[in-house]
Symmetry: C2
Subunit: 290 residues, 2 copies
C-alpha cells in the first residue's frame, strides 16, 4: 500500500487475509455438502473482480462466490482486500484516516437466503481495517421468518451460544456488549421491528493486543461456521406450506429495506465506488411488498 | 395551522388540496375503467390515516388508495395534507422554515406497477408546500422494461409531449429545465443507468404568481391523467412471455434500489415519522435480484 501500516497491525495483514480466504473455503465446502445431501449438485461459482485503480487509490479486489441450490436459494460469500486513499469527505469519518488518508481493508461477508421458510436467513462478516490505526469489525445475525415460535427460540439460542463462547474465550464483557450492539443496529425504525433474532455486532475492535484481536476474529468466524450449518441441517427437513413461503417473501422485503435504507456497509460501499454486484449480493433473490 | 401562511399561498391551500383530491378521484376512476374493460371488477380500497400529533406538530393525515388488478398489478394513489413544525434538524434544510419552523403540505402521489412487462410502470406526484414561503413541486416519470425498443420510444414520446404541452402553456423554458432535472434525479449511480424513460421533475417552483403556479400544477396533473392511461391502453393488449415477466421483476429490483437508496421523498418521509405504509406503497408487489 501507499502508506505503510504501523505495527502491530501491519504484520497481521497477510495472516488476516489468509484467514478470511480460508474461512470462505470452509464455508463454501460446508454449504456444498449440505446441498449434496439433498441430492443436488450445485456448486459455488467464483467471480473475481478488481477495484478500479487510479494514482490516489491503488486498488485491490475480491472474489464473489455464489451458489443457488435447493436448500440455499441464494448464498453469497465475498472476500476482498482493497487499499488506497480515502477521499477528503471520508477522511473525517474514518478513525486514523485524518493524517494521510491511506487505508487497507480485508474481509469476508456472507449472506444466505434459504428456500424453506423454516430455515432462517443468516448474515455474517468480519474484516480488518488499517489506517494510521488498526482494528477489526464484524458480526453475524440470524433472520427467521417469525420470532415467536419454539423453533426460533431454539435456533437463536444455538446461534447466540456459539458467539458467546467465542467472545467469552477472550473477554466475558464482549458478548453482552456486542449482542446489545447487534440488537440496536439490526432494527428497522420505520417498521418499529427488529430485523431478526440478533447475534453480535462489533466495530473498531482494538483491545490493544492486535494478535489476540485477530484470534478473536477467527473464533467469531468459527462460531458462525459451527452454528449456522447446524441450524440449517436441523430445519431443512421440515415441510412447509405455500403460505409460509409467501410470508417469507414479505419478510425478505423488510431485509431489502434494512440493507438499502440503513446498512452502513452497503451505503458506504456504494458511495465509495465499491463493487456494486458484490455489495448488493446481500439482496434476496425474490421479495414481495403488500 | 399553528403559524398562518403568508399570502399569496395561504389563499391557495384549500383550492390546492381540493385539486389533489379531485385528481385522485379522476385517476382512480380512469384506472378502474381500464380494469373493467378487461372483465375484472377490482376497485381501489381507501385507507385513511392520521399523522401522529403532539403540541409541536399538530397533525393532519391522508388517504391511501390501492388497487390490485389484472392490468394494474398494484397501483397506489396517496393524498395527504399535513401541518406542524419541523424539527431543528430539518429547519436548516427547508426553505422558509428557519424562522418559526411551521409548515403546511398537501399533495398527491401515484405509483403504478403493471402486470404486463409490455406496459411501463409510472410515477407521478405534485404537492404544495407552505412555510414562511410557498412553492409547488412534483413531476412524473415512466419506467418501461427496456429503453431500446420502438414501443418504448413511442410511449416516451407521448409521455414527454403531454408534459411539454403542460409546461409550454406557462413558460417554454420550463419543459427543457424540468426534463433535464428529471433525467438527473432518476438515475442510479451505482448501476450507472437511468431509472427509465424520464419525464419532468421540479421542486421549489415559485414563479412569483402563486395562482398561476397552482394552475401549472393542475396542468401537470392533467397531462399525466391523459398520457399514462393512453399508454396503458395501447400496450395492454400485447402478448408477453414468461422471460419478459422475469426481466420485469429484475427491473423492479432496480426500482426498489432507487426508492430506498436515493428517493428524497421516501428518505425524508421515513426520517420525519411519516406514514410508513403510505411512503412505501411505491415499492413493487414483487421484485427479484440476480
Amino acid at each position: 500500500m501507499t502508506h505503510p501500516a504501523p505495527p502491530p497491525h501491519a504484520a497481521l495483514q497477510q495472516p488476516a487475509r489468509a484467514w478470511f480466504e480460508s474461512l470462505r473455503d470452509q464455508l463454501c465446502t460446508t454449504f456444498e455438502t449440505i446441498e449434496a445431501a439433498q441430492g443436488g449438485q450445485p456448486h459455488f461459482v467464483r467471480t473475481p473482480w478488481q477495484r478500479p485503480t487510479d494514482d490516489a487509490s491503488p486498488g485491490g479486489g475480491g472474489v464473489m462466490s455464489v451458489m443457488k441450490g435447493k436448500v440455499f436459494e441464494k448464498v453469497g460469500v465475498n472476500v476482498s482486500t482493497v487499499f488506497g486513499t480515502f477521499s477528503e469527505e471520508f477522511r473525517r469519518q474514518i478513525p486514523g484516516a485524518e493524517e494521510h488518508g491511506g487505508f487497507w481493508a480485508s474481509g469476508i461477508s456472507v449472506v444466505a437466503h434459504m428456500r424453506s421458510p423454516r430455515v432462517p436467513a443468516a448474515h455474517f462478516n468480519t474484516r480488518m481495517l488499517v489506517t494510521s490505526r488498526g482494528w477489526f469489525g464484524g458480526g453475524g445475525d440470524l433472520t427467521p421468518l417469525r420470532l415467536d415460535t419454539p423453533e426460533a427460540a431454539t435456533d437463536a439460542a444455538e446461534f447466540h451460544a456459539a458467539f458467546r463462547t467465542a467472545c467469552d474465550r477472550h473477554d466475558p464483557a464482549w458478548y453482552p456488549r456486542y449482542k446489545e450492539w447487534c440488537d440496536r443496529y439490526f432494527f428497522l425504525p420505520h417498521r418499529n421491528e427488529p430485523r431478526g433474532a440478533g447475534g453480535i455486532f462489533f466495530d473498531q475492535h482494538d483491545s490493544g493486543d492486535a494478535k489476540a484481536d485477530l484470534e478473536f476474529t477467527r473464533d467469531v468466524g468459527r462460531a458462525f461456521l459451527q452454528a449456522f450449518p447446524s441450524i440449517v441441517r436441523r430445519r431443512m427437513p421440515e415441510p412447509w406450506t405455500p403460505e409460509e413461503r409467501e410470508a417469507l417473501l414479505y419478510k425478505r422485503g423488510r431485509y431489502v429495506e434494512f440493507n438499502l435504507l440503513y446498512d452502513r456497509g452497503t451505503l458506504f460501499g456504494l458511495k465509495t465506488g465499491g463493487n456494486t454486484e458484490a455489495i448488493l449480493m446481500s439482496l434476496p433473490p425474490e421479495a414481495r411488498w403488500a
